[in-house]
Symmetry: C2
Subunit: 132 residues, 2 copies
C-alpha cells in the first residue's frame, strides 16, 4: 500500500498556494478541473506522493459542502492499489463501507472509489488504481 495523495479542501487555490509554495517550499506541477466532481485541483508533488489542493467550482460540489461544514482542512487520503475492483471485493466484510461500489473516474481518468469516513475512524479514504 502506498499513499497517492493528500486532498486538502481550500476556498481559493491561489491563496493556499502562497502558503504551500512560499511558506513550505512545495512546487506546483499542475492545476486541472474535474468537471463531473465540480472541483479544481492543484497538484503539488511530495516525494512519491502529492498534495492536492481542492477548490469547489460549483455550490453543489462536495468540497463546497465540506468547507461549509468544517472549514478549510484535510479532506481525504488517497491510497494506490494495483487492482481496484479486486480490492473493493476484498473490503466486503472488513467493516469498511464502500461509497462507490463501481469504480468512478478521477484525475487523469484513473479509476477511483471512496470509503465512508464513519467506517474508517473519521478518515475519508480514496482508493485509486495504480497505472502500471
Amino acid at each position: 500500500m502506498r499513499l497517492d495523495h493528500i486532498g486538502i479542501a481550500v476556498h481559493s487555490i491561489e491563496k493556499a498556494l502562497k502558503t504551500y509554495q512560499s511558506g513550505l517550499g512545495l512546487s506546483l506541477s499542475d492545476i486541472v478541473t474535474i468537471e463531473h466532481q465540480k472541483v479544481r485541483v492543484a497538484v503539488m508533488p511530495l516525494g512519491e506522493s502529492s498534495i492536492e489542493l481542492l477548490e469547489p467550482t460549483d455550490p453543489i460540489s462536495p468540497i463546497r459542502k465540506f468547507l461549509d461544514k468544517r472549514g478549510e482542512g484535510i479532506h481525504h487520503l488517497c491510497f494506490k492499489v494495483s487492482n481496484l475492483a479486486e480490492k473493493l471485493k476484498e473490503l466486503k466484510g472488513t467493516g469498511l463501507q464502500i461509497l462507490d461500489s463501481i469504480p468512478c473516474q478521477g484525475l487523469e481518468n484513473r479509476k477511483i472509489a471512496f470509503l465512508h469516513p464513519k467506517s474508517a475512524h473519521g478518515v475519508l479514504i480514496e482508493l485509486v488504481e495504480e497505472e502500471l
Copy 2:
C-alpha cells in the same frame, strides 16, 4: 520537502488497527507512548512515510481535546526538514504562525515544531528535523 507521517486521532488504537491492518492491509511497526505529550502512538509504515494513530493517555492530552471537538480523524501532517531551527527562521514573515518557537521533542527524541492550523488553511502542520 518530504512527508514524514500523517497523524490520525483515534479513541482506541486497538480498534483502529483492525481497520488499517485487516481492512487496508497496512502493517504495524511499533506502539510507543510519548509521556510529555500524553499520547500513545501506533506507527504504520507507508512507503517513505508512515501513518501514526494517536490515542490520548490523559484527559489533558491535546488529542483528547481534538477528539472531543471534532471526533476521530486526521489530526496533522508532518513534514521532514533538514534543519528545523533554520526552517523556523525562514518561516517568519511568510504568514505561517509557529506554535513552538523553540523546537521540542517528539517520537524518538526528534526535534519537532508545530505551525498553527489557522495560518495554514486549516491544516495542523508539524515539522521534524530529519536524521542524517
